[in-house]
């Protein structure tokens, strides 16, 4: 974890309100899938604090991308960046997805803008000889993100949309019904994560991991702003152990480690 200046080298627009910024880092990076960076988003109104973003694609050891939907002032600032613009990045931060010891049937579940941490995870899992399937959910066809990029890795991709405009009509978690899995890796809105957790509990599927979000100020463990309730607090910590830090103990948690 280090703060440094990175440079935008390419700006892609995979969906109308979504931008992928490919960035050049000053040194080789080796982040774990699921780790994130705090990106500075200018010094205008409402953009005092940096914002957390998972890294998305890895093009070379120094070239990573970020994928985001424009939802507010911070993402609007980032969407306005162009090649050669510079920004501050602090990271890599947090604890990413743990990889299996050997080949497994791995299923990745993304809702909305949940795909970024799963792209590099798919690549690592493939490298381990896993059979990887990705399930992508969104409101509608144009909001489905990451499909061509994941397919380019050579994995199976299934989609679900709320309006049925692409793939299954309904929540993406309904696609899990017909799929055998040894490991489940999910990133997306809280409702989707709860559904994945319930499936993990019902099957049971102990190797289920959830990438959480929380409101963050620092991203590196010092503000205690990103609290999530622990399911089994460490008795040695007393009441202090009620909450974990999403930025440090997470953002990836096993399904039974937190109460969401």
């Amino acid at each position: 974890m280090r703060p440094r200046e990175i440079r935008v080298v390419e700006r892609l627009q995979p969906a109308p309100d979504c931008v992928e910024l490919v960035c050049e880092f000053p040194e080789d990076e080796g982040p774990q899938s699921g780790q994130f960076y705090m990106l500075s988003v200018g010094d205008g109104r409402d953009t005092y604090l940096p914002r957390p973003f998972s890294f998305y694609r890895v093009f070379s050891p120094r070239r990573l991308s970020f994928l985001f939907r424009v939802v507010g002032p911070g993402t609007r600032f980032l969407a306005g960046l162009r090649p050669r613009d510079r920004l501050q990045a602090m990271g890599p931060l947090g604890r990413g997805f743990p990889l299996p010891d050997g080949p497994e049937r791995a299923v990745l579940v993304a809702g909305g803008v949940g795909v970024p941490p799963l792209w590099s995870l798919a690549r690592s899992l493939l490298g381990l000889g896993c059979e990887v399937t990705a399930l992508l959910g969104a409101r509608t066809r144009s909001a489905v993100l990451g499909r061509p990029e994941l397919e380019a890795l050579g994995i199976q991709v299934l989609t679900a949309t709320d309006d049925g405009s692409m793939g299954h009509r309904g929540p993406v978690t309904e696609l899990l019904g017909g799929i055998e899995a040894d490991g489940l890796y999910a990133c997306g809105p809280e409702g989707m994560l709860r559904a994945v957790r319930d499936i993990a509990a019902a099957r049971p599927l102990p190797r289920t991991y959830l990438a959480l979000e929380a409101a963050m100020a620092c991203g590196y463990g010092i503000c205690l702003g990103c609290a999530v309730e622990r399911a089994q607090p460490d008795p040695a910590l007393g009441a202090y152990g009620t909450y974990a830090r999403v930025c440090r103990e997470g953002p990836v948690f096993r399904w039974d480690e937190v109460r969401i």
């Binding site: 005092y48 604090l49 100020a217 010092i222 205690l224 202090y240």
Partner: protein, 309 residues
Amino acid sequence: MEMQARVGRLLFKNPVLTASGTFGYGREAAELYDLSLLGGVMVKGVSRDPWPGNGPIRIARIPGGMLNAIGLQNPGLRHFLEVDLPFLRHYDTQVIVNVVGHDEAGFVDVVRGVHGQPGVAGIELNISCPNVADGLLFSQDPDRAGRLVGLVRQETSLPLIVKLSPNVTDPVEIGAACQAAGADALSAINTVIGMAIDVERRRPVIGIGSAGISGPALKPVALRIVYDLARKLDIPVIGIGGIESGRDALEYLMAGARAVAVGTAVFRDPLAPPRIVAELARELAAQGFAAVDEAWAAANPEARRRQSR
């Protein structure tokens, strides 16, 4: 540049400290730079027993800063003494222990536990946290503030700093009560109580509703309070609120602070504290000062007159 700063009995190698609650117990920042570069560190509030803190959401973004309602989540006195303080002893910097309690006995117990421990330079009483139910109990009433300081004073000879709240009509009145009860110094200010509303969810953004404003938005509020404390009281003041640069730090010194502490800025720039030390040295030189002391109260003639009396 002579960077030494004296705050009453406390001597800092430079006047830049880290504020309580925005630095944890130093472990994370130590991954980024040598903590010995700092004049001092004010650690996260320590209570007798571990505190869980508030439920989410604890953070909101606002123009010019942030809101927080952490609720003083901390691992408690024992953990601090066994794990956190030994870590901080590795660094050549002054450790100020920020103390919190639900009641007088809670404060007193922590002070007793900290007194006599090697590596503790001083104590900061946090009587001004707006984010726990009884947090402002002692900071809004001069009699209660004075009584608490008096009780703690009997327990320790360590330098005692009292952290004042801006959420009062007249901070000077509270500061005067602390001075009379034996405080060595004041730190000003803690966060201003505020709120943000989530329009879609139709409720306050912060889980518990209200929260503390910090960051640059706080600086003018804090500067005015520091200025008034310096011209009306005799004990030294540590200025806190929205400090992001050496120039901000210099403003505080000129207003009458003997030292400053950097809080929220470390979220935006994790390297802010050592950067501010370097910038302050340059700013002092640019203004023709040869030492930190010379800049003290440069913009506050009443404070200077008071001191020379």
